[in-house]
Symmetry: C2
Subunit: 247 residues, 2 copies
């Protein structure tokens, strides 16, 4: 793991790193030392590790919750090279959406193409980040919307170190079997008027989660209209499940 | 308005009152003086003004949020006499549920029978309670589950003094037109495995609400299994919408 830069503002330190070929970013409270809970944040399709939705959540989780937060560019995203199969599926998605077709099958194909390497990369990043003095081996959470949910469900299902997850903005029925293997507490977000994710498919994916404790939050609006109070709610959810002293 | 008793514990003062024929209870922070936001809490069918779900929420809203909270016995409930039509519908509901029939139509008939007087009573109680020095004319919220939602939707739709509401555990489609006239922010609760309220009917009632800002919280479990963290969430929702200084 190699650190390439470090900056601090408003009490939050941001460090850019690479782990092998994976570009990542770590946010911690300025001057932090010792073990703390860690939240891994997965960005959406076509986005990157410092996309606005990730960045806004990460800074609040660190500044208000004292968490460490890590994000990486998913395979074929951000600073990373693109493989031919990714470019083929992405081209079909663009053409299908221009023709107003239901993108669900292509979205599922894309996530399926990326999930194998994405899960392995998150596991490697988790191991590396927890070796840092200011992170350590504390409780781990995962946050991911849309593609961050599509790659997050296989990761959370496979990775016993993750103890709680905020997921959503996805409804692929291809994920149902994997979702049934998720057993940690989940907060799941649905946008009620999501033009990319049919409402019934979002509700069905929530239904498919195997977790005994899962809670659905649905709000009016389209795919990108997630209200900011859901960031407060995610912070409280992670605080409840990843810290000992707060109820 | 006549006060019949006053007790205090854990920083919360409880006063039993009657307003005409309506028995009620008012909770305020011990020693409170001056105007504060008020939450009106409607109990479920067959319950009363100090039912456990009302009492637990009321004491937290007062102790942790500094709110005043008022609850009353709904018509035909608690200490109040029962009219023949109420007894007829209640008898049919018992028989129908013993026979494992869908109770939706009888639930709707019951709420329809009670809504007229219930709305007028809440309006009178609101006016009377706001004349007290320790309440005053601050912002008003309404909280009601199940029958408390069935009587609350017509009340919130009719009463411009109410600025925010937590509703849920109900799905009667007979309420859709009234729900469309609710325009204040609403947090709406659905129990995902509710044997009394079909999931689709609960989601449809949320969908029917006219509010631009509405948020659905769904959790696994049956009608009475509402998780306690939803009380925290209701407190934060009312704090966000009824107090000026908190975000």
């Amino acid at each position: 793991m190699r650190f390439n830069s470090q900056t601090s503002s408003d009490g939050v330190t941001e460090q850019l790193f690479t782990l092998g070929e994976i570009p990542g970013v770590l946010w911690t409270p300025e001057g932090a030392r010792g073990t703390r809970p860690l939240i891994l944040m997965g960005h959406g399709g076509g986005q990157h590790k410092k996309a606005p939705g990730v960045l806004a959540g990460a800074r609040r989780f660190v500044a208000e919750g004292g968490f460490a937060v890590a994000a990486i560019d998913a395979p074929n995203h951000g600073e990373r090279p693109k493989d031919p199969e990714f470019l083929r599926i992405a081209g079909e998605m663009r053409a299908g959406m221009a023709a107003d077709e239901d993108p669900s099958a292509l979205v599922a194909a894309m996530h399926s193409h990326l999930a194998g390497p994405a899960v392995a990369e998150w596991q490697a990043v988790l191991t590396a980040v927890q070796q840092l003095d200011q992170v350590g081996t504390g409780p781990v959470g995962y946050w991911g919307m849309s593609m961050g949910c599509g790659l997050g469900i296989p990761f959370v299902a496979a990775e016993p170190r993750v103890r709680a997850a905020v997921l959503g903005l996805l409804g692929s029925t291809a994920l149902d079997d994997t979702a049934a293997r998720v057993t940690v507490p989940v907060q799941f977000l649905v946008q009620w008027d999501d033009a990319l994710v049919p409402r019934e498919q979002g509700l069905a994916l929530f239904d498919a989660l195997g977790s005994a404790e899962k809670t659905l939050h649905a709000n009016p609006g389209n795919h990108r209209d997630l209200p900011s109070f859901e960031t407060d709610s995610s912070l409280r959810f992670f605080t409840r499940h990843l810290t000992r002293h707060l109820g």
